[in-house]
């Protein structure tokens, strides 16, 4: 899931400067789970904007805001409300914001900060586990990703910076390589990290990435 948080209301207001009418989109996936762009958040944003003198021409929670087809169809269904607005405020991730702007060709303001691909520990607590690097090594590292969970992204074991099992960068964070070590040791698989892992290729993580199915 794309973990996200809403931008401050002041920042949103600043982005709407000089405008009077706005349409608000949310998303039923990540934005709803992160409580940034579900129906309750859209209702609240509508109320706050109206208090500041804006006219909200409509709100709608897209099923999945990063699907071009979905955006196109819902855009058509809400054509009048969108046309009546100066802009769209997107209460979802940056991919959603760009999908809407690109698909509907209508000025779309980002209402959220996209933080990372994360796992939901519980409502309000999210942690990053995968960087989508395109070269998964979880099979060898006991299902713990050092590319993501080690702040240095080290590939050949821990640095000398661990204390009491925690990382030198953040004492609330477990040292990823100690977690890997413990897990592999418990399973008799330390050999996995005894061999040298060559320097990682950065090609699969290069921007901007796209992926197209090959024809069978």
């Amino acid at each position: 899931m794309i973990i996200q948080k809403q931008k401050s209301f002041e920042e949103i207001l600043k982005s709407l400067e000089g405008e009077k009418k706005v349409f608000i989109f949310g998303c039923a996936d990540c934005a709803t789970a992160c409580k940034t762009g579900g129906q309750p958040e859209l209702d609240e944003m509508k109320k706050k904007l109206e208090e500041k003198g804006f006219e909200v021409t409509g709100t709608y929670v897209l099923d999945t805001a990063c699907l071009v087809g979905e955006v196109r169809q819902r855009g058509r269904e809400h054509q009048q409300q969108i046309d009546a607005a100066d802009s769209i405020l997107m209460l979802a991730c940056g991919t959603a914001t760009q999908t809407v702007f690109d698909t509907l060709n209508k000025l779309t303001h980002p209402g959220c900060e996209s933080l990372f691909i994360g796992s939901v520990q519980r409502l309000g607590k999210y942690v990053e586990k995968c960087s989508a690097c395109g070269e998964c090594i979880l099979e060898e590292t006991g299902g713990i990703c050092p590319v993501t969970r080690c702040p240095k992204g080290l590939m050949n074991g821990p640095c000398g910076g661990y204390r009491n099992g925690k990382c030198e960068v953040n004492s609330d964070q477990d040292c990823a390589w100690l977690l890997i070590y413990d897990r592999l040791k418990a399973r008799g698989k330390l050999a996995n990290i005894e061999k040298i892992r060559p320097a990682k290729s950065n090609r699969t993580a290069g921007k901007a990435r796209s992926f197209v199915w090959e024809r069978k």
């Binding site: 240095k152 070590y181 040298i196």
Partner: protein
């Protein structure tokens, strides 16, 4: 080969020192510190943007040391340069006849004074050692032939006081396989722990210089225990330091360092002294330790 590698090969007890480049170009005090080490140590480490606090280039200082007739050990960390820049600087060092290279991971930028900088870590300490070995073989990391291969004496670090220590030893083995010819350790204050560590790594057959950091005050010792990973100053040493008056700290620092060296002399191949500015005391430490 370098005097440092010859000294290690000879089996003598080897002493290295360390200086840290300043933030700025007022290099006088740093080279004065280096002068205190002349004739007392075989080679001098020059730290590379230590603690992620932006400073004058390590390579530049190493070149000057060499011109002054002092043997440098160039420290290189992986935090700031990708594999192109690291290989390029390794070749640059070789051009100046700098062979001793200490390959380290490097501290994270969040620990330093440019917290918004990008962490690179394109390579890690192991793959940086591999890169040095590859260059020596006449190729670069992409497999392209070099026009003139460099010669290095690569080394690495290890933290014997880390808990657990086994992951450090696994990595140390990888470093040896990647080409590390010597090790310098993080500061150690427990000779027994060092002795046990040396027994565990005996099969690697690689020289290890125990790290000696001069204890400047009881406060500094407590600070290291709190904040420096892989360092543990036993309470007895802190108490010993606290029992003397402030003006006696330097004398005590010398006494403790000399005693540690004496106690560890038989288990390791030498010591790496990190005086943190108290370089002037190094000759008396060595004299007292009898090395």
């Amino acid at each position: 080969m370098s005097n440092f590698s010859d000294a290690l090969k000879s089996g003598k007890f080897v002493v290295t020192g360390e200086i840290g480049p300043p933030k700025g170009i007022n290099v006088g005090p740093m080279f004065e510190e280096a002068e205190h080490l002349r004739g007392k140590v075989v080679a001098i480490n020059v730290t590379d943007i230590q603690s992620s606090v932006m400073r004058l280039s390590s390579l530049a200082v190493c070149i000057r040391l060499k011109q002054m007739g002092l043997e440098p050990i160039l420290q290189m960390v992986c935090r700031d340069r990708n594999r192109l820049a690291l290989q390029s600087d390794l070749l640059g060092a070789a051009m100046w006849g700098i062979e001793n290279v200490l390959c380290l991971t490097g501290d994270h930028v969040s620990l330093g004074d440019h917290k918004d900088a990008k962490n690179v870590f394109d390579l890690d300490s192991v793959t940086l050692l591999q890169a040095a070995s590859t260059l020596m073989s006449g190729k670069d990391m992409a497999g392209n032939a070099l026009d003139g291969a460099p010669s290095f004496f690569p080394g690495a670090v290890v933290s014997p006081a880390s808990d657990p220590v086994e992951p450090q030893i696994i990595k140390m083995r990888s470093k040896v396989e990647a080409g590390a010819k010597f090790f310098q350790t993080q500061a150690v204050y427990d000779p027994k722990q060092m002795d046990e560590f040396m027994k565990k790594v005996a099969s690697l057959n690689v020289p290890v210089l125990a790290g000696i950091v001069l204890l400047k005050s009881p406060k500094m010792a407590a600070f290291m225990n709190e904040n420096v990973a892989g360092v543990h100053v036993p309470q007895e040493l802190i108490d010993e330091m606290a029992a003397v008056e402030k003006k006696e700290y330097k004398k005590k620092a010398v006494e403790i360092a000399a005693r540690l060296i004496k106690q560890m002399k038989d288990c390791c191949n030498g010591v790496h002294i990190m005086p943190l500015g108290w370089d002037a005391l190094v000759p008396s430490v060595l004299e007292k330790a009898g090395v």
